[in-house]
Amino acid sequence: MAVQQKTNAGQGLGIAGLVLGILAIPLGLIPCTFIAGLIFGAIGIILGAVGFSQARNANGATGITTAALSVSIVGFCFALIWTMVVFSDKAPRWEKIRQKLENIESRSGDWEEDFEVEFEKEFGKDLEETLEELEDDLEDNMENIEKDVDKALKDLPDEEKAAKVGRAAGKALREFVDELEDTTQHE
């Protein structure tokens, strides 16, 4: 009985799949590069599967395509786990924010009353009245700032105006975010 010789069918795809699969494992395991691991793993699986079917149909060696499929699946799984961790509510930052909101929610009733009493003790003023005064002051200040800004931008061309306003808005937003972060850290 003649021994049928194996062909090279699917070998090229197998090699490509194996390389992508080998790369997908460390990339999938490193949290910073899990997206690359996901992509490499997925492409490795596709190439490995196509190579495997080509090899089987044309009596080719299936060793390399099987290896490609195996390592790509492992790499893809690591990356998939990271994807689920990052996008689920177990992501550390979202978990912290959720816990803080829960804490604030659970004690908001007592907290408001306590704060009003403490405020009156500390400053000798009613909280609501003080807030109204502050609101009036803020409105006056905002009007003054608008006037100053109009005066400052009056003689500038449109592009420069847009750039200055953009930079100022960015700075204000950054300051706001920093303050917000400080406030939540003190919680």
Partner: protein, 138 residues
């Protein structure tokens, strides 16, 4: 006939991986530690806003390639092990390709040893990452 095909596949895979490992080293060497100008950013930190076990790995690699071991430790304490793993794999890819070409009869034994050493060294170097992944799930 089949053997030669398998050997050539093994050598091709080794050459491609060696080139990729070299590119990783070149990438680390090209970008500066001080300027933090590495073009590939952390997907994890971008999404969650938090640091992770692999934060600072690119900077640590850049420091290691310049021989600044202490600085590398500051950026990422696991970087040394991973860098050593990549470096060892680069040496093994070149060495094993060379040996298989010179001594085709040793091919099977070399491939088995290669798989074993790669798995053991990988698990050793990436153990903190595996633990971190486990902790993140549980």
């Amino acid at each position: 006939m089949i053997d030669r095909g398998r050997s050539s596949s093994y050598i091709i895979v080794n050459i491609i991986l060696a080139v990729i490992l070299l590119l990783i080293l070149i990438y680390s060497g090209l970008f500066s530690i001080e300027k933090i100008n590495h073009p590939i950013h952390s997907a994890y930190s971008h999404i969650t806003g938090d640091d992770t076990v692999s934060t600072g790995l690119s900077r640590a690699f850049s420091a290691l390639i310049r021989g600044k071991f202490r600085q590398a430790d500051i950026y990422n304490s696991h970087a040394k092990g991973i860098f050593l793993f990549f470096l060892s794999q680069l040496v093994f890819r070149i060495a094993f390709s060379f040996i298989v070409q010179k001594k085709p009869a040793w091919k099977k034994r070399i491939i088995r040893f290669d798989i074993l050493q790669a798995v053991v060294l990988f698990l050793t170097a990436f153990f903190p990452f595996i633990l971190y992944l486990k902790d993140s799930i549980l």
